[in-house]
Amino acid sequence: MDLNFKDIDKEFFEYIPKEDKDLNTVVRPSETYWQDAWRRLKKNRVATFSLFVLIILILISIIGPYLSKFDYRTNDINSLNLSPNSEHWFGTDELGRDLYVRVLYGMRISLSVGIVSALINFVIGVIYGGISGYYGGNIDNIMMRIVDVLYSVPTVLYVILLMVVLGEASLSNIFIALGISYWVGMARIVRGQVLALKQQEFVLAARALGVKNIRIILRHLIPNSMGSIIVTLMMSIPSAIFTEAFLSFIGLGVSAPMASLGVLCNDAITTYRTYPYQLFFPSLAICIIMLAFNLFGDGLRDALDPKMRK
């Protein structure tokens, strides 16, 4: 039977009351995921404060050294082991180097180690996890077995071995060692996300339209799991900073005259009884950096992924 719209008696229809119509209109502009997350993040006072502290720390570590007339490498035999004073704000070390500048340079190294190695493990982890999750089957099986093997031994051990193999303890070697050891956690997270997402219709639609696999992974799956990726990324920064400090502390960090915060702590530990301030300032700097990154990461997790909240 052919039903024509015009044939239907108009009596069957009636106007919707105006109020009902209004109920169905969207009053507020709809928020995107990121706007929503940003709103949640702004409400979290601890996290915004940590973000503020982090920005200040980054600015200080960039600008700070130029505010002092000293540099990090010049020895001054006339001012060994000075206590903090108006000239040397954090005092000097056993070679007469200004500790304020050295701590700021150490912060610069620690922060760049954290950020660069996080970016390296982001790239490796996302590609590895994406491929493993998307292709599934045997490829996934083999790739995840490898991850399992790497996962069962502490990352610090690998980093130490890699540093021993790379020999010279330069900054770029630390980047390499940390970057190629820390992606395992990221790969697992990305794989899990991709596994869940690839069943959804938009992936099927993309595939039906003939989109290439690599493009599906990069343009559809990864952007949709960006929330948990960013959270993992943020959390990996403090652990990279921690590992660098750890490495420096056991003598595998950047070499003199450069010094990271771990090296400064290690240098100071032999003389902590007489010159405790030499230990105090770099320790404080590490603690503030770690605390700010951890608290900000927690806040970011709550904002980006409320379901992950504990």
Partner: protein, 306 residues
């Protein structure tokens, strides 16, 4: 169950083999070789040394030779300490490290779990905020910073505990606290969140509705399920304490495996690095296996297939 255990054991063996192989190859990829020092060694002597340690043989020969000995539990000689084997070093260092590590594990469970319970039962109150504040501090402060702070205040300023050497019970206190701080923080966070999950479940409500006193509900009904995640954390916990011991044993000059490891790195003592790495990962892998099995025993809800 048996099938599950066999499967896990096999995967552990594969893991061990992979770790040993990777470490072996890494240690043989080190540029310069172990006997290269500032002073040039005459080529004849170098040849002699290389022949002594079979370094002149092809790599695959060294590999199968190393594995043959490894299967018998022989980690080979140390390159640095003439006449001593890596086994000697392990025999010397392991008991010390195991004692310190054991004390730290017990400490972190003994304090972490009760703190977590207090925090969860007073959710949102000052006790909760206080414990979570401490936990955040514990997670963020690197162990070597904590260790040096403890040394400065408790040992140097107040003189309560010795700062160096090893032997009496007093020597354990500071290093054990420094080692246990971060795991304690993790355990208390974990206990808190899992207990909060559990006390909202129906069976706990049922128990309460039946008029069972709150204390019994928490400690008898809820806690049993709440500590299961803590059991899974035992693996990472031991791993953390193991790597933490590198720094702590160095700071407190404790003659354990951690310090030997750090020393072997500074000395470029490649066979010792290799042996200790394999030994450490063996410990961890078998511990993880144990935890996995315990986990299934404690929580019968876990499906073994898949």
């Amino acid at each position: 169950m048996v099938k599950y255990i066999i499967k896990r054991v096999i995967s552990c063996i594969i893991t061990m083999w992979a770790v040993a192989t990777i470490t072996f190859l890494l240690m043989h990829a080190v540029p310069g070789g172990p006997f290269e020092k500032e002073k040039k060694i005459p080529p004849e002597i170098k040849k002699q040394i290389e022949a002594r340690y079979n370094l002149d043989k092809p790599l695959w020969w060294q590999y199968q030779d190393y594995f043959k000995h490894l299967l018998k539990g022989d980690f080979g000689p140390s390159y640095r300490y003439i006449g001593r084997s890596v086994n000697d070093l392990i025999e010397e260092g392991f008991p010390v490290s195991a004692q310190l590590g054991g004390v730290s594990v017990i400490l972190s469970l003994l304090f972490g779990i009760p703190f977590g319970i207090i925090s969860a039962l007073n959710q949102g109150k000052w006790q909760d905020n206080f414990v979570m504040f401490l936990a955040t501090i514990g997670i963020t402060i690197p162990s070597f910073v904590l260790a040096t702070l403890l040394l400065y205040f408790l040992s140097f300023k107040l003189g309560i505990f010795p700062s160096m050497r090893w032997g009496t019970a007093k020597h354990y206190v500071l290093p054990a606290i420094a080692l246990a701080a971060t795991p304690t923080a993790f355990v208390s966070r974990l206990t808190r969140s899992s207990l909060l999950d559990v006390i909202r479940q129906d069976y706990v409500r049922t128990a309460k509705a039946k008029g069972i006193p709150d204390k019994i509900v928490v400690y008898k009904h809820a806690l049993k399920n709440a500590v299961i995640p803590v059991i899974t954390y035992l693996g990472p916990l031991v791993a953390g304490i193991l790597t933490g011991s590198f720094v702590i044993e160095k700071i407190f000059s404790i003659p354990g495996m951690g310090r030997q490891f750090v020393e072997s790195i500074t000395n470029r003592d490649y066979t010792t690095i290799l042996g200790l790495t394999i030994f450490d990962s063996f410990l961890l892998v078998s511990f993880n296996l144990l935890v996995d099995i315990l986990y299934v025993v404690f929580d019968p809800r876990i499906k073994l297939d898949n």
